[in-house]
């Protein structure tokens, strides 16, 4: 988009929308939309409070733990599936099922099995993230050039060497792509988990604000969450573009 001969930055239209929000808020059309300036004032006050920092802390903890499990389990499983046909045929149907299944439905089961706490949320997060990581790592291994594997064997690489020195690196772009999508899914998973458990982290805050009709606080938390999620996804996209040279040079 050009204006007066200059290219406007890609996300700059969000400022227009913020202005529109401000106008709607000022006009007092609805109780549910306070002016965005007021929301931001609330936001700066809010992020200094202990409940908010606690919520952010527990959420970050569950998120990183969940993503950590998804990566540590997902990548090796995906690589093994790409390498071993038998394992692939055995596991692939299940990975395909879980990647398209509405995992939200599993959260009640997790709640009765693991309680109304962080454990359930961590598992939810892992469940949201892991399948795409597995699938991408598998796809990455399957596209590896046969001659690269044969090169390793002809130079006498042990299976462990082959795994860490060839497969992991040769499949790196696909693996990172999977991790990026997995992390974006994990952000949604951690919030869905908290909403359903509703006594932990942001889930508890949302419950508190909405039952007391604290609109400014509610929007402030939403803005923080959306902002964080967007930043994470853009940052990962940036990292992925940085290694994209790698994919074309293989």
């Amino acid at each position: 988009m050009m204006l007066f001969g200059r290219k406007l930055p890609a996300m700059s239209s969000l400022l227009v929308w913020a202005a529109l929000w401000e106008v709607v808020g000022r006009m007092d059309l609805t109780f549910f939309v306070p002016p965005i300036s007021a929301v931001f004032v609330t936001l700066f006050g809010l992020i200094q409070t202990t409940p908010f920092q606690n919520a952010l802390g527990t959420t970050a903890y569950a998120f990183f733990l969940g993503v950590g499990f998804a990566i540590v389990i997902g990548i090796p499983v995906g690589i093994l599936m790409g390498k071993t046909r038998f394992l692939d045929e055995l596991l692939l149907p299940w990975v395909n099922i879980f990647i398209s299944a509405p995992l939200t439905a599993l959260v009640p089961v997790l709640m009765v099995l693991f309680g109304f706490g962080t454990k359930t949320i961590v598992i939810t997060t892992t469940l949201f993230a892991i399948w795409i990581i597995i699938l991408n790592a598998r796809a990455g291994v399957m596209q590896i050039n046969r001659s690269m594997v044969e090169m390793g064997r002809s130079f006498g690489a042990s299976p462990l060497d082959a795994f860490f020195k060839i497969y992991l690196w040769a499949a790196l772009p696909e693996i990172l792509g999977g991790v990026r999508i997995g992390i974006i899914r994990a952000v949604k998973g951690v919030i869905i988990g908290q909403l359903l458990v509703s006594i932990v982290g942001f889930g508890a805050l949302f419950e508190l604000y909405s039952s007391n009709f604290l609109m400014k606080e509610f929007w402030a938390v939403l803005i923080v969450l959306f902002g964080l999620a967007f930043t994470i996804s853009e940052f990962l996209g940036y990292l992925e573009r940085k290694v994209s040279f790698y994919a074309s040079a293989r």
């Binding site: 398209s100 359903l196 996804s233």
Partner: protein, 253 residues
Amino acid sequence: MQNRSLFLKLLSAAIVFGAWEIAGRIPISYAFPTFLESMTALAQMTFDGTIFVAYAETLKPLVLGIAISGIVGVAMGLWIGLSARFEWLFAPIFVVMQAAPLAALIPILVMVYGIGLTSKVFVVCIMAMPVIVLNTAGAVRNTPASIKDMAKSFLASDRDVLTKIIIPAASPIIFSGLRLGVSAGFIGAILSELKITPTGVGDIISYSRSIADYPSMYAAIFSIILLAVVFLNLLELLENTLFEGNNRGYVSD
């Protein structure tokens, strides 16, 4: 070959369901029924018809929401893909929506629209819309330049280029956007039944949990996952037959 693949699929199902059965027999938790108990509960619900009543209720917001986001989303996507101005204005909203945990909007939707059907349709819409819009816009923007040039060199009008080149070329990706939208819509529909008001399958899940009838709870969850997976796979099958060869043929091999 065919037999080996089928055999391994059956073997893999047997292992998983077997493990479920054994874990239920031990039991690893008081709230973990065996596979057979759950399947019995599912059969019972199927025979007395409760499951059909429940799905009629669950599918209502899902179908409505998908229909609305399909129509609005594809239209928005086409517009965004065609006009740089419109893209600048609207694309960021959907990009943020795509990355954001939209589930967090549910409490607000409930405050504004109450606990009825409207809120649930809204949840399905906000979950399904971003991927539909962004896929459509991307597909429109990435129409191969050479076939657009071809149409122009043979004197196509702008309308011809849109209806005879851009839309057919984009339709496989639009369709897969719709499929991903349905997938996200399922998540939204179930989430709204669990979070807003328990109706349909969400009601079976919540109610059987509250009376500790775990086999029924597992059966309901099993059935909704099965339904979603089967439906999405059918869509994918349809996609592959409809657009067979559509993405090949550009390359000059």
